[in-house]
Amino acid sequence: MIFAVISGFLSAALLPLFSKINKNLVPKVYPFVPLGIFVYLLYLMPSVLQEGSLMWNYPWVPSFGVDLVFRLDGLSLLFGLLITGIGTLVFFYTSYYLKGDEYLDRFYGYLSMFMAAMLGLVFSDNLICLFVFWELTSISSFFLIGYKNNDPSSRKSALTALGITGFGGLVLLAGLIWMGFVSGTFSFTELITTPEVFREHSSYIWIVVMVFVGAFTKSAQFPFHFWLPGAMKAPTPVSTYLHSATMVKAGIYLLARFTPILGGTAIWQETLIIVGGITMLFAAVHSLFRTDLKSILAYSTISALGILVFLLGVGTQDALLGAGLFILTHALYKATLFLITGIIDHETGTREVTRLAGLQKVMKPVAFAGYLAALSSAGVPMFLGFISKEIMYEGVFHSSSLAWVLTAALVITKVILFVAGFWVGVKPFSGNLPAEYQKVHLPNPLLWVPPCILAVLCLLFGVLPAVLDGFVQAVFISLVPEAPEIHLAIWHGFNWILGMSLVTLALGFGLYLFFKPSTNLILKTQTFDNLSPINIAESGGRIFKAFAWKWTGFFQNGYLRNYVITILLFLTVLAGYRLYDGVDIHLDWNQISQITPSEFLVVVLMVASIFFALITKTRTGVIVALGIVGLANCLFFLYYSAPDLAMTQFSIDTLTVLLFMLVLVQLPRNRSFSSRKVRLRDGFLSLMFGSLIAILALEVFEAPSYTEVSDYYAENAYILAKGKNVVNVILVDFRGIDTMVETVVLVIAAIGVFSLLNLNLNPFKKN
């Protein structure tokens, strides 16, 4: 199992090697990666149906309770099959769609990475692993949207998408960790046994909000929906794969997974109904005003995602079953529509729905796929779309007191989606072929076979829904633990639901006939752009940028002294405030040693040379003063029982003075740069800081000291390390590794000096 998940990462990592050997081989070999996993998942399917779920456990970071636990149940199997199945088709499709593209190998790398991340996401049983894979999907989506990296709008869309989903991811992480803290486990399997832990916890609302933000950003729910239409800048296979069939459903997956754990409360259900409802209506209406095929699909996808969230919110058993089934239905027909859009774009060079017509004459199989997909999307009987729509209506109709309103909203959405599906699946193919497209011909089978396979599945499952029974049952069980047995059927008898279905079909068809797509409408909607969430987000971004600019300009203006002053002021104020509270220092005069005349002399010498160094105008003077300060330091060490230090300080002092003298000759004369005022300010500041340090030193000095460590070293120096000079024993034995690292630092400094002096770094004298 772990191999199935990481094989995508492996193949992405091996890609550079592979493309070195033979670049053209990549598109021929890579489609077999998802195909292999797809077959493997099909092979596992019977045991999943029988046992409910399969587990694989690989320890990863046991100390944090983070393990690589993979769990395969109905829901994750559904997603796994979609990911690998549609993945296989998309991989094949791409090999022709982007044929000859310079970075085709890179594209496959991103796709494989995405596939692996997505599989990991749906199979993870551990919240933290889930989050890691979640972020990986955002990142690979970023690369794929920005695939045409020399197109600025493409880059911008990629950034927007990453910004929104990345933000959501961070919030989600907080939520997941919080969940872990509340329940003490990160495992789904364990969480699901104790849902009441959360519902009764005081931070329940926060956890729910965080999970919602994560899921809504990923699944493009209102008001975070705007990144998805922009993401359509990606090549069509990407839109098919990531932005309609799989990745955007990750948020739905998350919500569905958490429903048994966090759901069941009013906040959970009502928020989902409201957000999902707004999204599905809003996006559906939007899709009517688009003329670009991909934009229509983008908005209808958002609308479909809205329906899913809405159904999860309604939360009746039938609604959940409808959601599970709709995930499959939508993936099948929407992927088909995207793929044929890609073909149309590829062959005719346009995606303007107003200009396309009659293409069935030149590309029959594509038109066939388009019709089937559009019919399934519309929910015409004998198609999978019909069955899922029936169950959906059933679920919503028998829900709460507001069932009528909710059902009406769903019906309206469905009517509009009918139109959107027809515009993409039917409109370009029916009618008279315009003259300019007479020469268009059927492309390579690699392009048209994948949508046909998907379209036929839409029909097949619609005619023989019983094939899906076992599988859908498994999905149902993972959504509703105590699910009853189900049998999918085409015919449910004459009832309200059938009536609504018929009304939907009739209204949709009518709308399709009378409402024509046009570019005027799009212009009208643009007047509302100022209020749209994307604009609000963008202006927020601009304000943030301006603020960052000002902030950075103020604090990081490139003047060292400003940094130093900022830090010092902050420190002084902070520590000064504490001192303001009152320090009481009781010096124990017995502790303090006597001042001998020689020591006093050294102190005077030191003070004098420090002042001399501050005021003297000559470099040599400063260096001499520096040397004297070092020597005085050395004498202090000598007086107070640190002969090792004295020796080292003496040698270093000598070396430093020598070094300065050697370099000094090459430096310019000392100049006084700053004005009197500046010097006064600096003097004041440094005095403040100096006294602060002195006071702190006094305070610390006065506090009792702990000498356990020193005592341990001193007592064991000879017994354990056979040395009598404790300082040296600490250096070479007790803390030997530290010393070793320290010598490495010294070596690095030497290498740095050597290379600074010997490399030609002067940009003016290149030769």
């Binding site: 029982s641 300080q649 370099v663 310019p668 440094s686 002096l757």
Partner: protein
């Protein structure tokens, strides 16, 4: 004596900071060295001053029989001194190099990004 040392520590810090705030790179390095000395003395002081009792065990015995100066701060400072030397030499060479390339010792004239050089 400790009080005098505390005074010196404060003075070294103040002088170090003052030098660090100058525009001359040369003075900046002097400031760094002063600060380093000040910090070394501070650590030394906090290990308590003991006169004439280095942390060396008598030849005849295996453990300390008398009081002794704290060896841990000494080991720390010894390391700090040597590392400090590495830092100083690198900094000195750096200003030398910068002066050679840009012919200035004034930090303010370095205040531009690479593109403008």
């Amino acid at each position: 004596m400790e009080l005098l040392l505390i005074f010196i520590i404060g003075l070294l810090h103040a002088a170090g900071i003052y030098m660090l705030l100058r525009r001359s790179m040369f003075k900046m390095i002097i400031g760094l060295i002063f600060l380093g000395n000040g910090v070394n003395l501070l650590i030394f002081l906090l290990g308590r001053l003991v006169k004439g009792k280095p942390p060396v065990i008598d030849e005849a015995s295996k453990v300390f029989t008398d009081i002794y100066a704290d060896p841990v701060p000494q080991a720390l400072i010894l390391t700090a001194i040597v590392i400090g030397f590495g830092l100083q030499s690198f900094a000195i060479i750096l200003i030398k190099r910068v002066y050679k390339v840009l012919e200035t010792d004034d930090l303010d004239e370095l205040n531009s990004t690479d593109e403008e050089i």
